[in-house]
């Protein structure tokens, strides 16, 4: 099976702080994977490094549908087929969602774009948000829904959903999980980043990867979810000492 995302030996540091110490993850097309780990383990950093945020010194390889994206500007990674759903979707005052969609369509020159917009707007009940400012005044759940809408419209090969369940009540978590399952397709690989196992109750991931201290320490099937729920990351890591208590956490890395 061909790979939507192939991450090999990705390292990243922020100043003197080494956050990712050589990460390898494969996500085949058609599959939904989950990357879990305690706060500070480097999950969100991996997400930003793959998307190309320039505040990290990063190295390694990341193939999106076979195309190397490391070293490319953020927008070229997006157009190569990588999509990031943000943990904290940014408000863009004065720019309506329709303005953004129009620009997304123009840069893609994809004849199917407009029809994807219309069908996803209906499926995800986004019509009433289209003339409003991007993420402006939306609730947590509405922001996540808007991210899923943009993902459906962008038509990516790989979607990384960063803390897609954070800040949501249980109904919203269930709804997001169902949206992910609805968007599952043979042309897409999904990597969900979370540190709670609760979203796994409502979906059927193909694989779970556990990251601790900037490394993937274990990869397994969906049955790992219940193990995690019962015992937490300490036992999964197999070594209590490796669970980090960083002295400095400037932000949720």
């Amino acid at each position: 099976m061909s790979l939507a995302l192939q991450v090999s030996g990705v390292r990243a540091s922020f100043g003197d702080l080494e956050i990712l110490k050589g990460v390898d993850i494969d996500v085949p097309f058609g599959e939904v994977h989950v990357l879990m780990g305690p706060n500070g383990s480097g999950k969100s950093t991996l997400c930003h490094v793959l998307m190309g945020k320039d505040e990290y010194d990063a190295s390694g390889s990341a193939l999106v549908g076979g195309t190397e994206v490391m070293g490319l500007p953020v927008d070229e990674r997006a157009r190569a087929g990588l999509f990031e759903a943000f943990q904290y979707p940014v408000e863009v005052p004065g720019v309506s969602l329709n303005d953004l969609l129009r620009e997304m369509g123009e840069v893609r020159q994809d004849p199917g774009f407009d029809s994807r917009v219309e069908s996803a707007a209906e499926t995800l009940d986004m019509e009433r948000f289209r003339e409003r400012a991007v993420n402006g005044g939306l609730s947590g759940g509405e922001k996540k829904r808007s991210e899923m809408f943009q993902m459906a419209v962008a038509g990516p090969k790989v979607a990384i959903l960063d803390e897609i369940d954070s800040g949501l009540d249980i109904d919203a978590v269930r709804e997001v999980a169902h949206l992910v399952e609805e968007l599952r397709s043979d042309d897409l690989g999904v990597l969900i980043i979370t540190h709670y196992s609760r979203i796994l109750r409502y979906m059927n991931p193909d694989k779970i990867h556990v990251m601790v201290e900037g490394e993937v320490v274990r990869t397994g099937g969906p049955e790992m979810a219940s193990e995690l729920e019962a015992s937490g990351y300490v036992d999964i890591a197999g070594n209590e000492a490796t669970v980090p208590k960083p002295a400095v956490t400037p932000f949720d890395i």
Binding site: P73, V90, V92
Partner: protein, 428 residues
């Protein structure tokens, strides 16, 4: 061409009724007495005037009107009346259907002297500065609108103010009066060709009658060699509202000194601005909102951007008199600095003498937001395109509050073009 002296003042006022002749004479005395303003005065700080009145002359015959239609006329398919003022002379008038008195001030003065007396040349005080004095001393013509009580006129009146003669100074006067419980909208466009080196000193006087609603949209798009020093004074009566939008795009130097007096109880003013400087332009705004009546409300919301080596200045004063209890007053000024060589000044001021008011101000200044740009780029938009969308969004927040949406759309397209041109020339 005439230099600015007593003879020129007398010529401009040849047909004045007595009350206007007296105002003109008083203004001429101030003009002779006052020096050119200096940047040592707080209200002129940051502005370097590198010219004098002697560099310009009054024209007896207006230059040829030009017709660069940049979309404003097309955005106003139906007007309640329109007129053109070139080099300070009214040259074309469509007075509309007679529901209001509208047209050339000079032409209408003889028959309407009593109607105009309380309002004309009564706005900005002649002793405010040498430009204000010069205006009243030398203004010969302009536009006047008097809306009778109770008239509700949906379509806007359009006033096309032009400078057409190189080396000319002009003093267009625009007086807008709304009678009790009336409604009107006026669009004023300023323009000149880029090769016309002219000085224009417009005065706008707004008299907003009790319970009336006046909307005024000013589109400043002077050519790159025109200097404009303008004043606006508004008096808002009981339960009346003024909605003013100003877009500042053109001119070498454009200054607007504005004072709105919320005189009547329950009166309100909503003032919106969008200004965008490039090259070596200076855009200078000095706004005063003066709350005098009970229960008055005001909101000033201005967004400006500077690129190239341009400079913008906004000073906003909210003054609340001791009697003006229950006032709500807010001012917001946000600035985008798009080039290293550009600068913006933002100075909010409050002077509150009443003790039962709600008042707030905010001022920000900075480059485009990096997190917003990252977000847009993560959607596949390249950096220049992301920046264009952010600039568009920045101004959209002001332009969507403008009184005439069709005009705001035209201004939006000019702003988008102006930023894109700077991107292509590498100035941002």
């Amino acid at each position: 061409m005439k230099t600015l002296d007593a003879q020129a003042s007398a010529a401009a006022g040849a047909a004045d009724p007595g009350w206007l002749a007296a105002r003109r004479q008083a203004a001429l005395d101030y003009y002779d007495k006052l020096d050119m303003p200096s940047d040592r005065e707080e209200v002129w700080r940051y502005v370097d005037l590198d010219f004098t009145f002697d560099d310009f002359a009054l024209v007896e015959q207006p230059g040829e009107a030009h017709d660069i239609d940049t979309g404003i006329a097309a955005a106003l398919p139906e007007t309640a009346g329109w007129m053109r003022v070139v080099d300070g002379h009214a040259t074309a008038v469509d007075a509309g259907d007679g529901r209001a008195v509208f047209g050339s001030l000079r032409a209408l003065l003889a028959d309407n002297s009593e109607l105009f007396e309380p309002h004309v040349a009564q706005g900005t005080a002649s002793d405010l500065n040498k430009f204000a004095a010069a205006h009243t001393a030398f203004a010969g013509d302009g536009a006047i609108l008097v809306v009778p009580p109770g008239a509700a006129i949906e379509q806007p009146f359009f006033i096309d103010v032009q400078a057409a003669t190189d080396g000319a100074v002009a003093f267009p006067l625009v007086t807008l009066v709304t009678g009790r419980s009336s409604q009107a909208s006026v669009v004023i466009r300023y323009r000149s060709p880029d090769d016309v080196n002219a000085l224009v000193v417009p005065n706008l006087e707004l008299v907003v009658g009790a319970n009336s609603q006046l909307k005024v949209t000013v589109v400043q798009n002077w050519g790159t060699n025109t200097t404009s020093i303008s004043h606006l004074r508004a008096a808002v009566d009981r339960d009346a509202s003024l909605h003013l939008g100003e877009a500042g795009l053109g001119a070498a130097l454009s200054r607007l000194e504005l004072q709105i007096d919320l005189e009547g109880n329950g009166s309100s003013a909503n003032v919106v601005g969008a200004y965008f400087g490039d090259d070596t332009q200076t855009l200078d705004y000095r706004y005063t909102m003066h709350h005098q009546g009970l229960n008055t409300a005001s909101d000033m919301f201005l967004k400006g951007a500077v690129q190239g080596e341009s400079l913008s200045i906004f000073t906003g004063m909210i003054r609340i008199d001791e009697e003006a209890q229950k006032t709500n007053a807010f001012q917001t000024n946000r600035n985008l600095i798009l080039s290293d060589g550009a600068a913006a000044q933002s100075v909010p001021n409050l002077e509150i003498l009443a003790n039962d008011v709600r008042c707030g101000h905010g001022s920000t200044m900075g480059p485009l937001d990096e997190e917003q740009r990252y977000y847009l780029m993560s959607r596949g938009l390249d950096e220049p395109r992301s920046n264009r969308l952010l600039v568009h969004g920045f101004f959209n927040e002001a332009l969507e509050r403008f009184p005439e949406p069709a005009i705001a759309d035209v201004v939006t397209s000019w702003i988008d073009t102006k930023y894109r041109a700077a991107q292509e020339a590498g100035r941002v």
